[in-house]
Structure formats: structure tokens, C-alpha cells
Amino acid sequence: MIEDKDIIQLHPPKLSSADKLYVSQIAAGMKVTLKHLLAKPCRSLQYPEQKREQRVDNYRGVHRLNRDPKGRVACVACFMCQTACPANCITIVGGEAPWDDREKYPVSFEIDELRCIYCGMCEYACPVDAIELTPIYEPVGRSREEMIYDKDKLLQIFDETVGTKKRKNPKITGYELTGDRSAQGEGTARIQQAEKENENK
């Protein structure tokens, strides 16, 4: 039960004589708008001519398939990304690798960029950091088929963007040939430490 004494009554401030005239208030408002009108502090970005500064590290745009230092596709066809993908846009056909250092490699690797929701789960799932999202946000195509990017296209995107966005080093596995271990990140160090502890046990 709410008592009358518990009710807090809020009253708007009393109108002064100037407020009641309304005219002075109108003049004040018009002055504000005129100031903006004359100053024109336009905050719009004229898009095709001007583009926003890219957030290279964390922007989730079109995918790329990374190459290892020998220029081969870094993917080991483990299907982790395909499994993780919530939009089912990745299709991998795996095959026996022609190289000695790994067992499998993707014979074909297709991503439907129209189905993709750019969530980045594939990048998160990849054990060898072979698939990554780039800052490219304006992919275009004339047909739906054209927007299904195959392995060559994805590797080509890597070649185009590797200058602006360096390839991450593999963090989860110690996969030797896919990158330079000296530049490993903090996460890898922690995983290695955990592995050592396991071995000690």
C-alpha cells in the first residue's frame, strides 16, 4: 500500500514571464539552428570518395586463405571451420597432401560470401590459423555464382591483403612450417606452458 506521504510529486519549474511570452524562447531556438546552419559542421562521410580509417586487426570482412612461408595453402583440411560455421557457407573437399609435412590439404575450398554472416567463428576454430577475415567490406559480384569464392580467389585475397594485415602466427598448435615461431603470441606461450605441465604430470 502506497501512502500519500510516500508519493514524491515533481513539478516542472514555474514559467517565468519571458517563458510565457514564448517569443523569446522561439528566438533562442532559432538562434541555435542558425548557428548550425552557418557553421555547417557536417559530420557525414562522402562514402565512395572518402572512406573510414580501417580497423585492420578486428574488422570482420571477406575471408582469405593464408599461405605458409613456402607459398603453399596453409589449410590442413581438418573441417573445423566448416563444422563451426553457423551459416553453413564453407564447403571443403579434402585430399591427401602432396607434401611430406602434413597429411591432408584442401583439394577445393569454397566459401559462399552471400551466405556468410561474417561472425568470424571459422577464424576462431582454425587450428592452424589458415582462414582469416580481412578488412575488405565491399565485395561485389554480378551473380550469385561469382560470390562463391574458391580456393584460388581466397589465396588471391591473401596476396592482396597480406601487406596491410600481417598473417597471424599459429597459436594453438606448434605447427612448425606454417609460420615463424619466434614471433609467437602470448596465447601460444600459455598453451606451450600447459602442455609442458601435462607432460610433467
Binding site: M1, K20, M30, T33, L37, P41
Partner: protein
């Protein structure tokens, strides 16, 4: 041959009508563009700046000046829907009434005094009837038929409400407008617009200096008359969807749109003629080329330019106000007209009539003093009143919570 033809006022007026109607239609299309630009600048945006004229220049957009043409094309090619439930003849004719009534208003505007065509003086005015101002008032009120009929014919509650609101609003605001204009008419003793301008140009004292209060009242009613914010109660997108033009699409909607902007142009022109000396460029001084006895073609063009400049300023003013002020609530709108503007305009009228009785109505000191008294009385009355004419309202009475909740509610 051509000179003889031009010496015929009928031919001259016809030519002038063609020129002016072209200018007004062009002005209307660019007013819509300018409206968007002004709104953008006020809101710190850049506004339409993409549509140019030629696909040739891919990287030069002519500052978006092609936008009105694109807009027009869009309206042309849109589907023109006539819903099943409407009153078809009225539905079709209503936008036409709105547009035509605002388009034929301009004929009595004196754009540039007199022109000397080989010794014969021609009126730079499409028509110069003796009843000039009455025609203007009549046509201005007819325009509301388009809105009311559109709202009625749409057979839609929103449209109906919009139309009814507009009708009541225009009727209410026509009274102070008529009274304010009456003050001008009584002061200069003329109802012919050309003579009203001539009177102001001759003495150099514009009516806005003689009757500032009347000028203010007529300016405010002009907003209501053209259905512009803060008085666009017929449209009120937020509460009535689109008001009277909810059911309209394509060119029919565009006709309402053009009607509104044309009304703005003619309304501004009438205000300039009545209160700002028409084609007179500067008050209180006589500028060569702008004198009453200058009849040359250059002088005419200069005068028309000044007139166009005044109209352009008022169009900007309309937009500036529109993007600055919120809409009035309907009761506030009515209170402003009936309790604010009508008593004030009656006061001005009383001043003028007293002046007429004592033969001092054309003395500047008298009209100024009279207007000052009216303004002072109005300001004091409003400032001392407990309920303001507009603005924040009195508090709602707070009901006791016990009365609402009752005994059954256990805390």
C-alpha cells in the same frame, strides 16, 4: 509589329504569366531541394549532393542540383494508386484544386512596377483588378478545399482528421490575417496591390515599419495558411500518418506538395508587397532605378530581382522556422489564434480606425505608438496570465493513490 503587340496589356500579361509561372515552377522544384539542404545543414548533415545533370562527369555532381529533376521523375513513374474505398471524383479533383488555387494566386502580384514600351506604360503584373487584395484572400481560402476534400474523399479516419483540422485551422487564422491586412488597407486607403506598393515606394516607409504588430501577426498566420510547421496540423506525420494526403501517391501527392510550395511563394510575395514595399529595394531612401517613375527595362528587371530576393528570403525563413520549432498541439494552436492573435489584430485595427477619425492614420509616429501600445498590452496580459497561450501547460491534478489502489491491495 512586336512593339505594337507588346503594347497590348493582354499580350504583355500573357507573356509575363508564362515567364512567372515558369519561374515559380522552377522555384518550387528548387525550393524542395533547398528545403532538404537547409534541414541537412541545420542538423549537421550534408544533404542531397549526388545527383548531377550528365552521366558524363562521373566525379562532378553539380552540388546535387539535379536532385529536383530526379525527384520529379520518380513521382512520374510511381504507381498512381486509387484505393477502392475512396470517393473517386473528389479524390482525383482534390489535389488539382489545391495546386490550381495556389498557382492562380500569383497573377495579381506586382512584380516590377510599370514598363515603358515605346511610350506606353504597361503593368508588370498579370492582372491588375481593382479588388486585388480581395481576390488574393479569396483564392488563398479556396486552397483549403483541396485539403478538406482530399481528407474527406480518402474515406480514412486519419485523412479525415487531417482535413478537418486544416479546415478549422485555416478558418481560425484567416480572421487575424484578414484583420491585419485590413489595417494595411485602411492605412493606405487602397486595395489594389500596385497602389499599395506605389504608396510604400513613394514615401519610403514600408508598412512593416508603420505596423510592426500587424506585420508580425500576418507573418504568423502565413505559416498557418500555407500549412507549414509549426502549424502543419493537417499533416502531423507522428499522429495522423500523413494527414489529408495519407492515401495519395505518385503525381497526386506531388501536386499537393507543389501546391504547398507554390502557396509559400505566393504567400511570401503577398507579404512582401503588403509589408515590405514590394519591389522597393531599401526603406527610407530613394535608390535610382527603384523609384516610382523609373520605367526602363533595366529598372523593371532590377525591381523583379528585388521582389524575387524578398520571396527567396521568406522561403528560407519558412524553412528555418520549420526545422527549428516543434509543432503546436491542437488546443495550443487554437488558443494562439483566438486568444492571442485575434485580440491583437483587433487592437491594431482599433488604432488604425482611431487614426482615421483624427486624420493621423498615415503619420508614422501615430501608427508606431499605437502598435507599441497594442504590443505592450498583449505582452503584459500574457506575462500576467496564469495559463500561457502556448508552451508548457499547468500541472495535472494528482489523484490520491489510496483512491486508485483501494484497500484490497496488500503491500
Amino acid at each position: 509589329m512586336i512593339v505594337e503587340l507588346l503594347q497590348n496589356q493582354m499580350v504583355f500579361s500573357g507573356l509575363l504569366a508564362l515567364v512567372v509561372i515558369g519561374a515559380i515552377l522552377g522555384g518550387v522544384s528548387y525550393a524542395t531541394f533547398f528545403e532538404r539542404k537547409v534541414s541537412a545543414w541545420i542538423q549537421d548533415r550534408s544533404g542531397p549532393n549526388r545527383v548531377g545533370f550528365f552521366a558524363l562527369f562521373r566525379n562532378f555532381h553539380f552540388w546535387g542540383l539535379g536532385q529536383p529533376i530526379a525527384d520529379g521523375g520518380k513521382f512520374m513513374w510511381k504507381e498512381d494508386m486509387i484505393p477502392h474505398h475512396v470517393d473517386k471524383p473528389l479524390f482525383v479533383i482534390a489535389p488539382a484544386i489545391s495546386l490550381i488555387m495556389s498557382m492562380i494566386g500569383f497573377v495579381i502580384i506586382p512584380w516590377g512596377g510599370l514598363l515603358d514600351v515605346d511610350g506606353k506604360l504597361m503593368h508588370v503584373q498579370v492582372a491588375n483588378p481593382d479588388i486585388g487584395l480581395l481576390y488574393m484572400l479569396g483564392i488563398g481560402s479556396m486552397g483549403i478545399y483541396g485539403v478538406v476534400l482530399g481528407g474527406y474523399a480518402s474515406n480514412n479516419k486519419y485523412s479525415m482528421l487531417g482535413g478537418m483540422r486544416s479546415a478549422a485551422q485555416v478558418i481560425s487564422y484567416e480572421i487575424p490575417m484578414g484583420l491585419g491586412i485590413l489595417a494595411v488597407v485602411l492605412t493606405c486607403g487602397e486595395i489594389r496591390l500596385e497602389s499599395i506598393v506605389a504608396g510604400q515606394a513613394e514615401t519610403g516607409i514600408w508598412m512593416a515599419f508603420r505596423h510592426p504588430v500587424a506585420a508580425f501577426i500576418v507573418l504568423v498566420t502565413l505559416f498557418a495558411e500555407t500549412n507549414r510547421l509549426p502549424f502543419d496540423l493537417g499533416e502531423t506525420e507522428q499522429e495522423l500518418v500523413g494527414g489529408f494526403h495519407t492515401e495519395y501517391s505518385s503525381m497526386k501527392f506531388a501536386m499537393y506538395f507543389m501546391g504547398e510550395y507554390t502557396h509559400m511563394i505566393t504567400g511570401s510575395a503577398v507579404f512582401a508587397v503588403l509589408f515590405l514595399g514590394g519591389w522597393d529595394v531599401l526603406p527610407f531612401v530613394s535608390v535610382p532605378g527603384f523609384r516610382l517613375e523609373d520605367h526602363g527595362i533595366i529598372s523593371m528587371l532590377l525591381k523583379m530581382g528585388v521582389m524575387a530576393g524578398k520571396v527567396a528570403f521568406f522561403i528560407f525563413f519558412f524553412m528555418w522556422v520549420r526545422w527549428s520549432l516543434p509543432r503546436l498541439r491542437y488546443d495550443q494552436l487554437m488558443r494562439l489564434a483566438w486568444k492571442g492573435l485575434i485580440p491583437m489584430s483587433l487592437g491594431v485595427l482599433v488604432v488604425v480606425v482611431v487614426g482615421l477619425y483624427y486624420q493621423v492614420h498615415d503619420k508614422l509616429w501615430f501608427t508606431l505608438a499605437g502598435n507599441a501600445i497594442v504590443a505592450a498590452v498583449a505582452l503584459i496580459a500574457v506575462a500576467r496570465s496564469s495559463t500561457p497561450i502556448t508552451g508548457r501547460q499547468a500541472n495535472m491534478p494528482v489523484t490520491s493513490s489510496a483512491g486508485i489502489c483501494g484497500e484490497e491491495v496488500v503491500g
